[in-house]
Symmetry: C2
Subunit: 381 residues, 2 copies
């Protein structure tokens, strides 16, 4: 039996609804927005219904401001390249995933100034340093919501409030929190939200997108056919078409809708509560195992459902491999696409072992995992 | 019963293998290249096997030079923005889909010079004009393989040979021909090929990519996590990682592999032969219907499996709607995301009715379609 604790990379299992609805979409065919015939129109309606579901869970009124991309990385690139240009200034954190760091570095080479707010374990984002970082040409604040390494949540309410006070839009990378944690743009001062479809939202890979607040305007990033204004040589300027060129992943988006419907039926608060409990059990158990070093604190309420640890100074890959091969426990070990955050944690060499349960994970599986880590600790230390 | 003749927009039905293999991928989970555990490794192997299949049908030796994108449009944008920069010159045709036209217009505004080779019906691409268009700063030739409106094939062998003689890479948009028509980069002088996964290759939506010849190098287009060299702030420079950021559509790519395997089992030549026969039957039948205007010639051998027509001066949308609502025939009417090509055909107002069968289409369905067009013609003209 496999114990899957790598939901931070991609969630598994998916609800049965996801597969069923994808099979239906494959069977019924149709290219959304391409053609006035019934099949294409129904495919377009199906995509629209998923926009509606997502606008509901993210608290916006206009489903057309949900833009689909193939993953959160493409969504983030779309936002960064769609807003920033030479001469602009952007503020970010030093916890970021490479999905933010790498495009920002490219933009930096093209004349965008980047301020990275430093942090240390336990105070991952210095609000004082941040508030002082704004300049006249600051055009964007971008941070992740939760570290993909340690699960630590950034103070996004305060970050957003300060940005709003300065009139600067705030782009939130919700890769680890969309579908997991309440993210209501009515109350949260976030202007643009990037989400993956295949993690907390329980959809299939190949889905993700942006939720774009009313006051934000992005230049297109990918240009091409939109099924609208076909007679024009230029990209339409209305959403979602301005930012959605080429054939959408209609089948995947249908599946994403299945995942979101499942979440809504379960109650997102219930899902969050359960994941928090599972993580707290993991943390509490790990604290009793000799040699365990935990990252990101011991209170699951302050974290996305991610628990990161190491055993002494042992390479995290060795621990991860043993958990996999000897106990069938799927963690993720090594570096996690966020080098600055690893440097902050002092784990750029060792990496970390990351355990990320979902609400499908059972308490029994958590117990088995703790037993296995204890045995590995005994064997290696 | 529905008669589906809109395979030019997206192919339907898909082979049963596609659904089965996607269900398997959903059931087995795993994020390709994220994590050293068995599930992620198997997902990565599954993606690699599809690269192998595609490199086989496109005649390249290195599967790593097959790069996955979410659709052909993203693939084309990746190539255009990855090669062209201010001061460069590019040659294209006036038949192009908006997937080429719209990004080229943006590049033109950024200082790229664009020459559009004109054509007229029956001679869609003037090779003389083309050969004379090269300049010292010509960095790319880009054309579609077959018009998505009329199905007419461009003389890609000659276009490629001339480009090769000038030392300029040739990017081919194979949206209407990949999986339909032999495209072997060993013999065809094409350097970069952009393909959709969900048309002739019979995969699901959300798939597509680039096949990149050995001598071509592209700057990255989307930056982010690659699962490789995670400690670096910059994008890895090797393929496919340089051009594949963020989580791949693993489930969709698995399905695409199912489509390609099916094609190989059928024999691509057989599939092409059958589609050509079906199109010839359509053309021959349409020629006998009063008021039919055909576009793109009457020889199916010179065309992708697309037959475009109008009835007199009647708006193509009216004809398309009648075929759909009264006869259950799914065509695509109106404009087809290629305004210059419509202007060349004189159909920028009227649009065209496009019939695009697949090898799943039956002769009976073609017969029913011809009867229906004859009735619509009688009714409207």
């Amino acid at each position: 039996m496999m114990i899957y604790l790598d939901n931070g990379a991609t969630s598994w299992p998916k609800p049965q609804e996801v597969k069923l609805i994808m099979n239906e979409a494959l069977d019924s065919g149709g290219n959304p927005g391409r053609g006035g015939h019934g099949v294409s129109m129904e495919a377009a309606r199906s995509v629209y219904r998923v926009r509606e579901l997502l606008s509901k869970i993210f608290g916006i009124n206009k489903p057309t401001r949900v833009v689909f991309t193939s993953n959160a990385t493409q969504a983030i690139n779309t936002a960064l390249f769609g807003i920033l240009k030479s001469g602009d200034h952007v503020i970010t954190s030093s916890l970021e995933h490479n999905a933010v760091t790498r495009p920002l570095n490219v933009l930096e080479n093209r004349g965008v100034k980047v301020t990275r707010i430093s942090g240390r374990s336990g105070n991952e984002f210095s609000l004082e340093e941040y508030a002082a970082a704004f300049r006249d040409n600051t055009k964007l604040v971008v941070t992740l919501h939760a570290s993909n390494i340690s699960g630590v949540l950034l103070p996004v309410e305060q970050i957003g409030e300060i940005a709003r006070g300065k009139g600067v839009p705030y782009l939130l990378d919700a890769a680890q929190t969309a579908g997991v944690y309440p993210l209501d743009l009515n109350s949260l001062p976030v202007d643009i939200l990037a989400f993956p479809g295949h993690k907390g939202l329980l959809g299939p890979q190949g889905t993700g997108g942006l939720v774009i607040g009313d006051n934000c305007s992005l230049r297109p990033f990918i240009y091409g056919g939109t099924g609208s204004l076909s007679e024009l040589d230029s990209q339409p300027d209305f959403l979602p078409d301005a930012l959605e060129s080429g054939t959408l992943n209609g089948v995947g988006i249908a599946g994403l809708g299945g995942g979101v419907k499942y979440l809504l039926a379960q109650g997102m608060d219930n899902v969050r509560k359960r994941e928090q409990q599972l993580c707290q059990s993991l943390i509490d158990g790990l604290l009793h195992i000799p040699g365990v070093k935990l990252y990101g604190g011991t209170d699951a309420a302050t974290k996305a459902p991610i628990v990161a640890f190491n055993l002494g100074e042992i390479d995290s890959m060795i621990v991860g491999d043993m958990l996999d091969e000897e106990y069938g426990i799927i963690s993720r070990a090594g570096l996690h696409c966020a080098p600055h955050a690893h440097r902050m944690l002092g784990t750029i060499e060792q990496g970390v072992v990351r355990l990320s349960p979902s609400h499908f994970t059972t308490e029994v599986e958590i117990g088995e995992t703790l037993k296995a880590v204890a045995k590995v600790s005994k064997e290696l230390l």
